[in-house]
Symmetry: C2
Subunit: 234 residues, 2 copies
């Protein structure tokens, strides 16, 4: 039971964060020739829960969050999507969650029929999609392990290591998302996220930048020890 706010609106961050210049801004080559690109502004919705799933997407620049809400407003961000990630593939006709840009982002749009073609079998693109699906599932399972078993500190440590891996970052890890986003991703509150980050900083394991959107990993081994094992973080 957490983060149950009456006004869902108030839960949406609305500050202006620069993604540009961070490692996350590194664009990704558009694999198949098909697909148009689309630009998204900060907090702009790409698709919403319940909407007809007529397309799916691949992140080119920026970062997105996908989430679901409980009736009372509790939110679970199931994943953050960085350049190269594919999102929005649905089993049914409707999107089962909402996707929003965290900062300025661009995505490639694929028509759903590409997916149907893939399921029926169509060579390379099909293989890429199935691989993307399997990777999503793998990540979802890792995340369940985190949500079901880990303590707050372990969650935060795992999250930082995971972002660092996905960001191909050595030491400096960009966190384009707000504390609220992180909290709703890890099943914590913003206060606990903040406290855990402070705790890691106090121990000298990490360093939090002034703007709060960058982390420097000072002691990766210690961070790994904090992460509670298994999670295949590097």
């Amino acid at each position: 039971m957490q983060t149950a706010l009456a006004a869902t609106v108030s839960r949406r961050p609305a500050n202006g964060a620069a993604l540009r210049g961070t490692p996350l801004a590194r664009p990704v080559p558009a694999t198949p020739a098909m697909g148009v690109t689309r630009r998204l502004g900060k907090d702009q919705e790409l698709f919403a829960e319940g909407e007809h799933a007529g397309a799916f997407y691949k992140v080119v620049t920026g970062a997105l969050r996908t989430y679901r809400l409980l009736e009372d407003g509790r939110r679970q961000i199931d994943a953050f999507h960085l350049p190269g990630d594919i999102l929005g593939i649905e089993a049914g006709k409707e999107h089962r969650f909402t996707a929003e840009a965290i900062g300025e982002s661009t995505v490639l749009v694929y028509r759903r029929c590409s997916l149907e073609a893939a399921a029926a079998g169509e060579g390379d693109f099909a293989r890429e999609l199935v691989a993307a699906l399997m990777r999503s599932l793998e990540r979802a399972r890792d995340h369940m392990l985190l949500l079901g078993c880990k303590s707050a500190l372990e969650k935060i440590a795992t999250f930082i290591l995971d972002m660092s891996r996905r960001d191909h970052a050595e030491e400096v890890v960009a966190l384009p998302m707000s504390r609220l986003d992180i909290a709703d991703h890890l099943g914590l509150t913003i206060e606990t996220v903040s406290r855990s980050l402070s705790a890691l900083e106090r121990r000298g394991t990490i360093e939090v930048s002034a703007q709060r959107r960058t982390i420097v990993i000072r002691d990766r081994a210690a961070l790994r020890r904090c992460s509670g094992g298994t999670g295949d973080v590097m």
Copy 2:
């Protein structure tokens, strides 16, 4: 932080539960002609984390659990698999989790090359596999919502409704798994599982059979109200 036992062995249940005669025992037709069947005894391992993923499986009778362990023994059961479910499809070459039969079970074994054929595209079976993948992902996401947001009582209520739906059960729901299995699935302890079930029983929402492996839903509406919304339980 929960259920961290030093001896992982002691966590494995070993009683004798009858699956036979419950709704869960209902067999499922083997869709593709290929695939040999395999029988599994209670708690028998189908495949283990780290093992080469040379095959994947479809449940015909019984029920299986798939789980991952943290180094200290904490366990997360990511899913229970009932007749008709496909499990063991992996992105990489190795199984990322362990699968065990909960009670006597039978599965169909598919060689991995079928999967590769499917990814490359091979008509009907390909479509079924991709659909299975997408359904797994959907379930994983539902489960993340549960793990990340819901209270103990909400988790239990959701779980019962979900089992009832998957079991095509009207009122009487079979729970072939132990309390420990349920606890490790929902991110709780056995004590909390037990207490929550008792709480629901005390309110007259459900009834727990003497053998503890069957639940009767007395007031589905109340149970749904308890479940915390969204979860697409019926």
